[in-house]
Each structure stands twice: as C-alpha cells, then as structure tokens.
C-alpha cells in the first residue's frame, strides 16, 4: 500500500561534531538519534514498521538501529497498519514501550480503529489497569509532489480523539527532544514528522533552491538524552503586531512571509496540538490583538477551527480583527497543482494584509 515517491536524495551520513564542538543534524538524523537514545536507555522500547528494520526505513529514520540493538528490538513488519497498531497496543498492555512507524500518515487509516477505539481508550475504560504508552511515528504533510496519498496532514482526526496526544515538530532540535518526551509519556502519542523539512527548513518558495538544516541554528542538537516537555509551545519570534499559530513546515513558511512583509509578528510553534499550550496562546493574542492560524491540512473542521474557537472564546475582548485561517483547500491533495493548493506566501500574505489593514 505504500510507494516511496519521495526518498531523500542520498543516504544520510551521521553528523559529526564540528570544530567548534557543535553537532548539526537534519531532522532525520535527529529522529534517529532520539530513537537510538531511547533504545539505549530503556530495554522496553521496541521499534517496528514497514521497512523500518533491516533497511532502516524509507526515510532512513531507523537506519542502523537494528544492527545496533538486534532484531527483537527493531524489526520489519507486515504491510498491515491495523496489525502494527494492534500489536503495539498489546505490547503496551504487557509493559513494553512500543514506537511503531506508519510509513506515511496517509496510510494510518487502516489502523485508525485500533488507535481511536483501543489505544486512546485503554486507560479510561480499564480505569488505569491497562495503558498504551506507545508513540506512533509517521511522516506527514505535503510540499514534495506526493500527490493524494503521500501529502496528507490528518492531525485533526487525532486531535479530536480523547485520550490521544498529538505532536508535530518543526526543527531537528525539537524533533529529538519531543520524540524522547513522547516515548517516555505514558499516554499514546501520534508524532507527525513533516517530511518536507526532513532535510532542511522550507520557507514556501518551491522555485528556490532548498536549504539544508546545517545552516540553521535549530539543527544544533545535543548528544544523548534531553527532552522537550509535551504541551509547551515555542515562541520562535517575538512580536507585537499579531500572533501567528502554526506547527510543522508552516512555522517556517509563516515566519518568512511575516519577515518579508515587515509585520512584527509573534510566531508561535505549537509543537503539541493536544494538549495545546493555551497559556502561551492567550498571553500572545492578548498582547497583539490579532491572530493568524496557518496549517497545511484542509480547512473545514481542521485543527485551525479549534484554535480559532479557543482564541475567540478566551481573547474576544482583546481582538482587533477577525481571526484568520490560512489552510489547504477542502480538496484531496493534488499532484500537479500542488503549489496552487499549498498555503504558501501569497495566501499567507493576503491574510496578513487583511489582518493589518486597519493599522
């Protein structure tokens, strides 16, 4: 059911500390490092998924781990997302800490019943007798000519599920710290990895050369163990004029557009969607009085609707303009018209113009 249309150009080489002792990793290496760290720290951590074992994953995120930890800790799985999710739930019930991989978020749906009806509810329905401390890793998002089934952003199908936590990193540093925290978390976490920014940040210009992570400070990644607490947003740019709520690839795109237009935006990378960091959001919107929400996922009933409602309910008397949502359109993700679909600089720029019009 999976077709790899978007493998990275070359096999990744593990970054070595540079002359200044800094270690710069791309997001793939950072994820690999997080998995390596947790496999080493906790004997109950196991990793499996389609092509995740010997081959090291179609995106190389699990490269070298089977060789290092053995086939009973890191192994290949049948092409059955339902089965992968279910055995992870059963392993959790035993006491393991499984980190199953779904090759593309677009293929998570066969496992959806096991996630929604089982993993998310296990603790509740058993009053804590059984838990599902699993972390579902899955590459997600578009911007790579992945067409309908290699581009989707289905986070809203998970943020709506009581009992699930949903995490989306936007940098190598965050990816490692958040993934470690997710693996250590005793609740089921779906960890969506924006594959457009696996190799470098993307600022929305498909017609410009892609940047590599090495030149970005967020690629500086400490060795060994560290964690970024789930439920805490990151203010990636402080500003006074408006608040941008974004996550994943769109953090970089939105930040770039704000800079280009000279808008003094406060850009918040949510990092965790559920539970969302409401304090940081409220404090920012109360300061700026304006809010722009940006996500790749389609618009109707997307996570942006929840964010918009929260801001409207809690910051109503501080708002000086209607909350704007910039999202993908309500269509399946197209192949050839990808850059017409993608919520890029033009769409974000127009929303900024509307938001700032009365200033």
């Amino acid at each position: 059911m999976t077709t790899d249309t978007s493998a990275p150009e070359a096999k990744q080489k593990k970054a070595k500390p540079g002359e200044d002792g800094e270690r710069r990793l791309n997001m793939i290496e950072a994820i690999n490092d997080a998995l390596d760290t947790m496999l080493g720290r906790d004997d109950d951590v196991v990793i499996f998924g389609e092509d995740a074992g010997y081959f090291g994953g179609v995106f190389r995120c699990t490269a070298g781990l089977q060789e290092k930890y053995g086939t009973s800790r890191v192994f290949d799985a049948p092409i059955s997302e339902c089965g992968i999710m279910a055995v992870a739930v059963g392993m959790g019930a035993y006491g393991l800490r499984p980190v199953p991989e779904i090759q593309f978020a677009d293929y998570i749906y066969p496992g959806y019943d096991q996630i929604v009806s089982e993993a998310a509810r296990l603790r509740y329905r058993s009053a804590g007798e059984f838990i599902a401390p699993m972390t579902i890793r899955s590459p997600y998002g578009g911007g790579i000519f992945g067409g309908q089934t290699h581009s989707q952003s289905p986070e809203a199908l998970f943020t709506h599920i009581s009992g699930m936590k949903t995490v989306v990193p936007s940098t190598p540093y965050d990816a490692k710290g958040l993934l470690i925290a997710a693996i250590e978390d005793n609740d089921p976490v779906v960890f969506f990895e924006p594959k457009r920014i696996y190799n470098g940040p993307f600022e929305g210009y498909y017609d410009k050369p892609a940047a590599a992570w090495r030149s970005h400070d967020a690629s500086i990644t400490p060795e060994g163990y560290y964690r970024i607490e789930l439920g805490k947003a990151n203010v990636v740019r402080e500003g006074q004029a408006l608040t941008v709520l974004a996550y994943g690839t769109m953090v970089h795109v939105a930040k770039k557009v704000c800079e280009e237009k000279g808008v003094d935006a406060e850009v918040i990378d949510l990092r965790t969607l559920v539970p969302v960091d409401i304090e940081t959001i409220e404090a920012s919107v109360e300061k700026t009085g304006r809010c722009l929400i940006v996500h790749e996922a389609s618009r109707t009933s997307g996570f942006g609707a929840e964010l918009s409602a929260l801001v409207q309910e809690r910051c109503f008397y501080h708002l000086e303009a209607p909350i704007e949502r910039v999202t993908g359109f309500d269509t399946p993700y197209p192949h050839s018209l990808e850059w017409a679909y993608f919520p890029g600089p033009v769409r974000i720029g127009q929303a900024l113009d509307r938001l700032m019009a009365d200033i």
């Binding site: 049948p78 339902c82 019930a93 393991l96 509740y124 058993s126 804590g128 007798e129 059984f130 609740d187």
Partner: protein, 434 residues
C-alpha cells in the same frame, strides 16, 4: 476489438447471480441437524505439540471429541483429568450458568441496562481457561465470563460492574459485562469486535521479546472473524511465531446472521489456519474434555516456542445474543433442543456420574449452592446501588484516566461538571437527591 469478440462468445452464458447465504432453518421450521458431521469420539489423532503446523491440517476439517454417548472419555485427546479438577470445572460451569440467569433477570428488573449470557458455551471459556497458566493473559470477547469466574474473580466485582454502582472498579465508565481484571490476567473488554485478537498477538510478541514464559490466549466469535483485525492477527501470529492461542467460538450465530455470513458455508473456521501456516484444531465446543485438551495442547505448543494455534470450538449459542435480542425473530426455536452436540454442563455431569465420582443429588446441591452464592453476591452488590440514574461515581472521576494526568482542558470541563452538579443537586450527593 477483443472486447466485442468476448461479448459474442459470452452471449449464451446464463446471467450471473449473487449467492446470499441462507440459514437452513427459520422461525417455525422443523429442524434437522443430520447434515452436521458428528465424529466418533476418540477417533482423531493427537499430533505432537511441537509438530509442523501442516500436520494439524486434517484436524481442521475434523472434529476433535473425547466424551462419547456412553459418557466416557475416549482416545488420545483424553486429558485424563482427576475427578477433583473435573468437579471444579463442573462447579464453575454451574456458577456461571447461575450467574447468567440472575443477571439476565436483573436486567429485566431494571437493575442494569444490558446483559449477555454464554449459555451452552461454558466449556469454550471455562475448560479452556483451566488449561492455561493463571498468569497467561486472556484477551476475551464479551462472552467469556466463564473464564473470569474460573480464575476466581469475585462475583460481587462483576455485579458491581454490571450495575455501574459505587463499587464498580471501572467507575461506571463501561457498558455492563465489559470487565477488566488485570490482577487476574483478564484484559479489558472492548465493544469493538476482534480488536483484541491482534492485541493478544502483540502481547505474545512482547513476552517473546522479553524472554518471558507467559503466553496470550484470545477469544473471538465466528461472526467477528470477518473483521480485518482477525486477518492481521493471524498474519502477525504466523510471521513472528507469536506464543498465542486464537480461540474461535463458532456458536453458529452473530446476532441474527448465521455463520454463513462469515464464510462457514465454504470452509471451517479452523481451516483458516491452513492458509496462514499456523496450527489449527477443530473441536467439539460442548465437550469440556476436548476443549480442555485442545487448549492445553495449543498452550504447550506456544510455551515451547513452536508457534501459534487457531482453535475452532464448534458450539451453539443457546440463548439470544443479548438482553436486547429476540432470537425467535430469525431462527427456529427447535434449534437449541435439536443441537446434536448437547449441553456442555450435562455432558460433564454425566461423565462424572459415569466415573462414579458424582450423582444427581450432588448436582442438585451444587446447583443450589451456586444459585445461593450468586444471590448472596447480588445482595451485597445491590447495597452499593443498581444502575438507576447512574450517577454513583463522583462527577470528577469522569475526567480521570483519559490521560495519565488531567490536562487543562479536561480540568476546565471538570469544573463545569461540578457547577452543573450543584445546580442539579445542590450540595447533596446525587444519590441522596433521588
């Protein structure tokens, strides 16, 4: 074009027709079960527990039976249980049956919203559970209450759960009979069918990853084998040779749909094992000795790293699907009395009598004691409340255990529920307000 030519040559063929399975008997029909092949007890070979999966294939189309019409045990599958174990098995069956009767009545009396009996299928859960080690994890469906009772789980805890009262360990969150009993290695029951089957495989894989000796055993109905999870479970069990026993209780009916809608017209459920390359057994599900022997065989096989087994227990759902079901709407009332494999409790009782280890007086006394035991547990449980308005738990518990900790949005909703409580009931407990 070739297409036109094909159309021409197909011109004489009769039109295709859709086969929609139909059970042999509908309400009012005379029942004749003579088409069911009832095999000779003791005639089925018992392969070595570590045999190649392929060696079991003839047994997938056979029917392993031990107890004969003479009420004696026959053949290589006789588990040779001592009379004390047999009496304990019989007593657990009597207790389960008494429990079902009482709880069914409790639902009719409005003490709870829902109940499901396992009448006629007691051997498929009780005899099988007794063949496992106490710490082997059971991944049940909703009709294995016998397994829980056989593990000594207190009846009062079961009734508390059914009544969702203040003693309910699941805090009133779960539909009645969806028990969870980790201390008894009994996995939390889900309303979503067949999800537990691949989960059991995962548990078995985990046990193997850790080099443990525990195995997992899971139960699924004939109807639920049609779910995709069943296929996933068999595939993963086969691929990783997981130490797991997959028990398919073929009770012929999935609510109103007969087993033909899960493919039973064309192959036995045990025969599914053949395609996956796992061991398969087909067993008389109303023969407690055969059920015990098959489960023990599969458990030994799993525990010795020889891989999974799929067992079909051929049985009959003697009662309605649930308290919400009336089987007279879709099947002949004669089916139950005509069922050729009889009743598991009667067969075990008659076996013990034939062994000279039991008598009718003992049985009558046992049945009475079982009824008394259930009645006493019911009386105790009722002191903690019956469903009624349902609000036996502190409101705030509704928000616990969604996550390990209560996140901000649930904390806010918890405050809201407590404000609503005060508006509805004042400062009083809702129980007092009614």
């Amino acid at each position: 074009m070739a297409g036109n030519g094909d159309t021409d040559t197909r011109g004489n063929l009769p039109p295709l027709s859709l086969h929609v399975p139909e059970p042999k008997f509908r309400p009012g029909d005379e029942v004749d079960f003579s088409h069911i092949g009832v095999t000779e007890p003791g005639a089925q070979p018992r392969p070595d527990e570590n045999c190649e999966a392929g060696e079991t294939h003839p047994l997938c189309n056979d029917l392993i039976r031990v107890l004969g019409d003479d009420n004696k045990a026959h053949g290589p599958w006789d588990p040779k249980l001592d009379p004390e174990t047999l009496r304990r098995m019989l007593q657990t069956m009597a207790l389960t049956r008494a429990f079902d009767e009482r709880m069914f009545r409790g639902q009719r009396q409005g003490k709870t919203s829902f109940y499901m009996k396992c009448t006629g299928e007691e051997a498929t859960s009780i005899s099988t559970a007794m063949a496992l080690a106490d710490d082997d994890m059971i991944f049940p469906s909703y009709r294995q209450q016998g397994a829980l009772i056989s593990r000594g789980y207190p009846l009062i805890e079961m009734i508390n759960q059914i009544y969702s009262n203040e003693g309910d360990k699941l805090k009133g969150r779960q539909l009645p009979i969806m028990y969870s009993a980790r201390d008894y290695s009994f996995y939390t029951i889900s309303g979503n069918l067949a999800t537990q089957v691949p989960q059991a495989v995962g548990f078995g894989m985990a046990s193997a990853i850790k080099g443990d000796t525990k195995i997992a055993a899971t139960w699924v109905g004939d109807g639920s084998t049609a779910e995709g999870d069943f296929h996933a479970a068999c595939t993963f069990a086969s691929v990783y040779r997981a130490p797991v026993v997959i028990n398919v209780v073929n009770n012929q009916w999935a609510i109103s749909s007969f087993s033909g809608f899960a493919g039973a017209e064309n192959a036995t459920f045990a025969a599914r094992a053949i395609g996956y390359g796992i061991a398969g057994l087909r067993v008389d599900g109303n023969d407690p000795l055969a059920c015990y022997a098959a489960e023990r065989w599969a458990a030994n096989r799993a525990r010795s790293n020889a891989g999974p087994t799929l067992i079909e227990f051929f049985s009959y759902r003697a009662e309605g699907h649930s308290t919400s079901d009336d089987p007279s709407g879709y099947r002949s009332a004669q089916e139950r009395e005509e069922w050729p494999l009889g009743d598991p409790v009667m067969r075990l009782k008659n076996h013990l009598i034939a062994l000279g280890e039991w008598d009718e007086d003992g049985q009558a006394k046992m049945d009475l004691e079982a009824a008394e035991q259930v009645k006493a547990a019911n009386t105790e449980a009722q002191k903690l409340g019956t469903l009624g308005h349902g609000m036996h738990q502190p409101f705030e518990t509704m928000f616990e255990d969604v996550y390990e900790d209560v996140p901000w949005h649930l904390a806010e909703q918890r405050e809201q529920s407590l404000r609503e409580k005060e508006i509805k009931f004042g400062k009083k407990d809702p129980g007092e307000a009614q």
